[in-house]
C-alpha cells in the first residue's frame, strides 16, 4: 500500500523547528504562535480570568484561546486542571455576574412537568462522577493543509477530566419524564451577550440527539474542585463523548426539543462540510471519532530502552486497540493500555516499550474503536474540524 505524502507536511517537517513557518505561510488571523510559548521573548502572561493556571503548560493563541503543550496532559490519565486548555466563545462569566452560586438556576423544558431547579436543589437530588475527554472540535486544525481560519490548535485543545454532578436521567425523572415528539436535547448557556451583539449569533446553544442525555450530567465540580468560571461554572452540561462545544458552559436551560436550535452556533457553525461548501445540511460536530497521540518522548531520548507513551480514546465508543510505529507507519506494533480504565468516555494511557539505536525516527500511534481505525490522513473539511489522522500527529525524534 503506497503512502500518500502530504506535501505541506514535508514543509512542516523541513521548517518545523518552531511553528514560525506556519505563521508566515498562513493567510488566517496572524496570531503569533511563536510568541505564545512562555519561553519566547515578548511572550504574554496569563489573562486575569485564568491567573491560577500554569503559564508554562500553555501556549497562548489569544485572550480566550490557549492550548496545552503536547506533554502537559501528563501520564496519569486525568489532566491537571492548571494545564487544561481554554477555549471560550464569549467572555467567561464573573463572580459578580453569577452571584450566589447555590441559587444558580437551570430551567428544564420539553418534559412532562417543566421545572426550574437551583444548584442547591440539584445537589440534593443526586450525584455521580464521570471521566470524559474534553476536546475542542478544532483540535488539530493547525495540521490542515488548506489553512482554515480559526485557532491553529495542534494537540493541545484536549484534556481528560473528572466531572461531578447530577445525572440528567435523575432530573428528567423529577420532571415526570421526557415529553413525546421530542428528538433532541438542547442546552443553552446564559453567559451575558455583550451589548450590540445579536443574541441569535452570540448565544451558545447546542442540540444533540436525544440519546446523548442517557449518560450526561449537569456538572458543578471539575477534578475535585468547584467548577471554575473559566470552564463554565457554576454549572455545565456534560454529554460524554461529544465535542467540546456541546459541553455548554454556564448552563441556564436544558430542553428536549423536536428540532435543532436555530442559533448560529448550531445552524451554521460547527458543521463538517467539504472545502468550499457550507450549510446546515452538513453533519454537526457531535460524537468524537477515535483518536490517539504520543505525548512522550516529544523530541529526543537516550539510545537503548525507550518507553513511548501517549493517550487514546474512542469518543462515545470504548477504545479497543492501540498500535505504535517507529518507522513512519511502515510497520505497526501492538502497544499496551496501562493504568486505570475510567470508562469508555475517558482516554487510556498507552505504552510501547522498545529498544532504539542512535538515529532519527518518525513515531506514530494508531487507535481503533467500534471497528474503526484512525485514518492515515485527515477527513478534509472546510473549517478544519475533527482531525484524527495518525500521520499529522506523528513525531520526529532523535535517539542519541
Amino acid at each position: 500500500m503506497s503512502k500518500k505524502i502530504n506535501s505541506s507536511r514535508r514543509k512542516f517537517l523541513a521548517g518545523s523547528a518552531t511553528v514560525a513557518g506556519l505563521a508566515a505561510a498562513t493567510s488566517v488571523v496572524p496570531i503569533s504562535v511563536v510568541n505564545a510559548n512562555h519561553l519566547e521573548p515578548g511572550s504574554k502572561g496569563l489573562p486575569d480570568f485564568i491567573k491560577w493556571k500554569k503559564r508554562s503548560a500553555l501556549i497562548i493563541h489569544s485572550g480566550k484561546t490557549m492550548e496545552s503543550h503536547r506533554g502537559a496532559v501528563g501520564s496519569s490519565v486525568i489532566t491537571p486542571i492548571r494545564h487544561i486548555y481554554i477555549r471560550n466563545n464569549m467572555p467567561s462569566m464573573t463572580d459578580a455576574q453569577i452571584g450566589d452560586r447555590s441559587k444558580w438556576k437551570v430551567k428544564i423544558e420539553g418534559v412532562k412537568n417543566p421545572k426550574t431547579f437551583t444548584l442547591a436543589q440539584l445537589k440534593r437530588m443526586g450525584q455521580t462522577t464521570i471521566a470524559t475527554v474534553l476536546q475542542c472540535s478544532g483540535n488539530g486544525r493547525g495540521f490542515f493543509p488548506h489553512k482554515p481560519r480559526g485557532s491553529q490548535w495542534r494537540t493541545g485543545a484536549a484534556a481528560c477530566v473528572m466531572w461531578t454532578g447530577c445525572p440528567i436521567t435523575t432530573v428528567v425523572e423529577a420532571c415526570g419524564g421526557i415529553a413525546s415528539g421530542t428528538k433532541y436535547i438542547t442546552a443553552t448557556g446564559v453567559d451575558h451577550v455583550p451589548t450590540g451583539l445579536d443574541p441569535k449569533k452570540a448565544t451558545v446553544e447546542r442540540s444533540l440527539p436525544k440519546k446523548a442525555h442517557k449518560d450526561a450530567i449537569l456538572a458543578w465540580e471539575m477534578n475535585g474542585v468547584a467548577l471554575p468560571n473559566a470552564h463554565g461554572g457554576p454549572l455545565r452540561f456534560i454529554p460524554p463523548g461529544y465535542f467540546g462545544i456541546n459541553n455548554v458552559k454556564h448552563l441556564g436551560k436544558l430542553a428536549f426539543t423536536s428540532g435543532e436550535s436555530s442559533v448560529k452556533y448550531m445552524k451554521s457553525s460547527y458543521r463538517i462540510s467539504p472545502i468550499g461548501k457550507k450549510g446546515s445540511q452538513y453533519p454537526s460536530c457531535w460524537e468524537m471519532p477515535v483518536k490517539s497521540y504520543i505525548t512522550s518522548p516529544l523530541k529526543s531520548a537516550k539510545s537503548g530502552d525507550v518507553v513511548i507513551s501517549g493517550v487514546a480514546f474512542g469518543g462515545t465508543k470504548k477504545v479497543g486497540k492501540i498500535k505504535v510505529s517507529t518507522d513512519g507507519g511502515k510497520t505497526w506494533n501492538k502497544a499496551k493500555f496501562v493504568g486505570p480504565n475510567l470508562g469508555k468516555y475517558a482516554w487510556r494511557q498507552f505504552v510501547y516499550k522498545t529498544n532504539l539505536k542512535s538515529g532519527t525516527y518518525n513515531i506514530a500511534s494508531k487507535a481503533s474503536a467500534g471497528g474503526k481505525s484512525q485514518p492515515e490522513l485527515r477527513t478534509e473539511n472546510r473549517r478544519g474540524y475533527a482531525h484524527n489522522g495518525w500521520f499529522d500527529h506523528s513525531l520526529n525524534i532523535k535517539i542519541v
Binding site: V29, G42, S62, G63, R149, P194, K201
Partner: protein
C-alpha cells in the same frame, strides 16, 4: 483612515468586541487587535471582515458593509493593529 475609524466605531461596531487603542475601543469578545503579532495585512483583515469567524459576523457576505466600507476599515485596522 477617517472613514475606517467611523466604520470601526459606528456602522460595524467593531469596538463592541475588540480592543484597539487607536480607536479607543475596549471590547472583550474577540481577540485584542493590539495584541496581534505580527500586524495583519490589509488582505488578512479584509478576509475576516468579509467572511466572519465564529461569532464575528460576515460583514461582506451578509451585506452589512459596502465594499468601500470594508476596504476602509481593513486599511484602518491593518495600519493600527498590532502596533
Amino acid at each position: 483612515m477617517k472613514l475606517g475609524l467611523e466604520v470601526f466605531n459606528e456602522k460595524a461596531a467593531c469596538n463592541a468586541c475588540h480592543v484597539l487603542k487607536a480607536a479607543g475601543s475596549e471590547g472583550n469578545v474577540g481577540p485584542s487587535l493590539d495584541s496581534l503579532n505580527p500586524s495583519p495585512t490589509v488582505e488578512q483583515v479584509k478576509d475576516i471582515v468579509t467572511h466572519g469567524l465564529g461569532v464575528m459576523p460576515a460583514f461582506g457576505e451578509e451585506g452589512l458593509l459596502t465594499n468601500e466600507e470594508i476596504d476602509a476599515v481593513s486599511i484602518y485596522v491593518a495600519k493600527t493593529a498590532g502596533k
